[in-house]
Assembly symmetry: C2
Homo-oligomer: 440 residues x 2
Amino acid sequence: MQIAELRSGLTPPRIPTRALPEHAGETVRLAGWLHRLRQLGKISFLILRDHTGMAQVVLTEPEQIEQVAALGHESVVEVVGNAVAVPQAPGGVEIHAPAIEVIAAVNEQLPFDLYRPEIAAQLPTVLDHAAVANRHPSRRIYFQLAAALVAGFRTTLDELSFTEIFSPKLVGSATESGANVFALDYFESRAYLAQSPQFYKQMMVGVFERVYEVGPVFRAEPHDTARHLNEYVSLDAEMGFITDQRDVMRVLNQVIAGMVDAAAAKLEAAGAGDEFAIPEVPVEIPILHFADAMELLGKGDSEELDLAPADERDLCDWAEREHGSEWLFIEGYPMAKRPFYTHPDPQRPEYSRGFDLLFRGLELVTGGQRRHLYPDYLAALEAAGLSAEGMEGYLEAFKYGMPPHGGFAIGLERFVARLTGVQNVREVTLFPRTMTRLVP
Amino acid sequence: MQIAELRSGLTPPRIPTRALPEHAGETVRLAGWLHRLRQLGKISFLILRDHTGMAQVVLTEPEQIEQVAALGHESVVEVVGNAVAVPQAPGGVEIHAPAIEVIAAVNEQLPFDLYRPEIAAQLPTVLDHAAVANRHPSRRIYFQLAAALVAGFRTTLDELSFTEIFSPKLVGSATESGANVFALDYFESRAYLAQSPQFYKQMMVGVFERVYEVGPVFRAEPHDTARHLNEYVSLDAEMGFITDQRDVMRVLNQVIAGMVDAAAAKLEAAGAGDEFAIPEVPVEIPILHFADAMELLGKGDSEELDLAPADERDLCDWAEREHGSEWLFIEGYPMAKRPFYTHPDPQRPEYSRGFDLLFRGLELVTGGQRRHLYPDYLAALEAAGLSAEGMEGYLEAFKYGMPPHGGFAIGLERFVARLTGVQNVREVTLFPRTMTRLVP
């Protein structure tokens, strides 16, 4: 059972299971996890899983069958054997006459079976055992999608001359909203965890004109629902020298297309092209003004300042029906519900130049044009009853010349959930942080 | 002076100043900051700065000269004029007969001049006014280099089949080292800020085999020196199915080469190719065992368990002299100075399979092979006097099968400082966090 002697330079290098079909007829080396063992009397099938897929290893020697039967699921093994084309084998190629080396034996029962198509456990149990659960192919694909979405975000913005920045997550004041901020003792003073890189990405427009950041943001929201995470990954972009929010929306439109393309390519490469309904992204996502949206909803006379969840669903249905689009921009949200840095619509100052991008019935992205003139900031802060104290370093960017600018923020986990149709955002997060969950 | 009427579709679209030479003889539109104004009697030169460089705008109309003279430095302006090839102009092309629109007028004195070759202020003043200081070309290049290094890190690892992950920064226990951890109230419990993604990247080797993460790490170290940041960007990678640390070092060697190549390309593109001494990265960076390094230092009989800063400098001098390399791997550091998850050298168990990568006299990267067997973890924790409590989710990865694996972590700001020859790591950080600095 030992193949230590095969570790010399004469043995074939390890190949991923996905590459097996190209190696039919050869002696190959595989390594991975004992995903499943099927014992059928005088023959056993060891299903070996690596990060690219699975391979079936056929065991016929009684001694080897016995030895492998003693191994727990998820034991790490290395296999050297003959890759044989067998039409009825999964993937068309299986391994015969294997030498098997145990790299790490597992002696304990798993908290749930990983070899079944789905994990048969409640979400809290799955998340408690994330180190194991995330190995399940049905979960692994979520995180591959996340990586692909982020890569698509960066690639698109790189091509549009954006520069990546890294802003601090420890900040000196809880200024952006004041509420729902985590605070900590910081040597002799008090620090807070950044709720977003908003202020920093704006400041950096003064340096690079176009910037983006991918990083964690922290929200101390005391809500324990399927939509809430207290820490999540925010994909932020900000750009200068715009005419109005439409310039930002055009870039976002491209970014979304680039992200979805990258996700589709990843699914294809992972052999999971059919698992999820990947949306088309129109070259021009339809745009509806908030006031027109309210009209459409039959709420033209209402004084509501925001869209209710049911409204967002109805509007998405409308966009699908009228424009064949799963995406819909709502622009011009009332100023009253937007943060102080939001640029008003000069023609209708009660409306803003802020927008949301809705996708499949939910808000996925928030963005807009920001104010850029220093006196406007001072007036807006005063009007909002906010103090400029602690914000001097931010305001300095405007005091010393800022162009018209705007940007947007995309929640990564929410995007993955929408793409995969998963209802609970925690389910698509590697190690989610909620009010009651800080481990693993 | 208004060019509002030029904003129609008939006007040329904005071009970056760097593209000016290609547009000689045309009417062009530029936008940017009033970097400098030189008044020479009947002629004034407005130096306009955008994110790509500078352009000289020649003013000859008395009224326009007067209007521009009233603008403060860093005012944001848009210029439409004739691009004229003039050999003695900076860049060979300047703008004549401009129409100028003021987008954002600056009325206040800057904290320091941005138009001089260097900022004439002490570092604390520079950092207090980071929103403005980071616009200075001499600083801007640091952050472009940082972005390029990170891009090179990702590109190299993507090509080597690594998957990007996003691990939580809020963690439930201060387990990795115990000391120097920031703590915060987290709803009904206590949370800590992650000092590194070490545990998570190891756990994710069980999922993707090869992973990387770029993100903030937090160190509550009470040291206020030129080498310390309390928050910095860590570039982490971890890979499974290795033979020993040498496999990790080979990947790191490639990663470093990819990062340096990306940095060199960025400098070239920014027209700053000559500003910094970009190092060669050997195909095989020389490797020295810790014990041999001590011999070389004449400390063969000493019981020192780590290299002193002077030792690191001496060893780098040696590598330069003997191998013509600015890079040097030291492997096999004594186990006594390495964390509990470090894999010992089976042949010499007092030495580890950990390594550092030295660059220009300083440690730049730390890495090594980790333990992968569950019983070894239990024993190592006990030997280190550490409790497994709070670590169950991490240990589960080993309980349920992990291959031999290892990885490394690169400090981004330190890398930028070494590449640029800057002594104080804070100087190359956008918005540094130190014991006494939380703003801006």
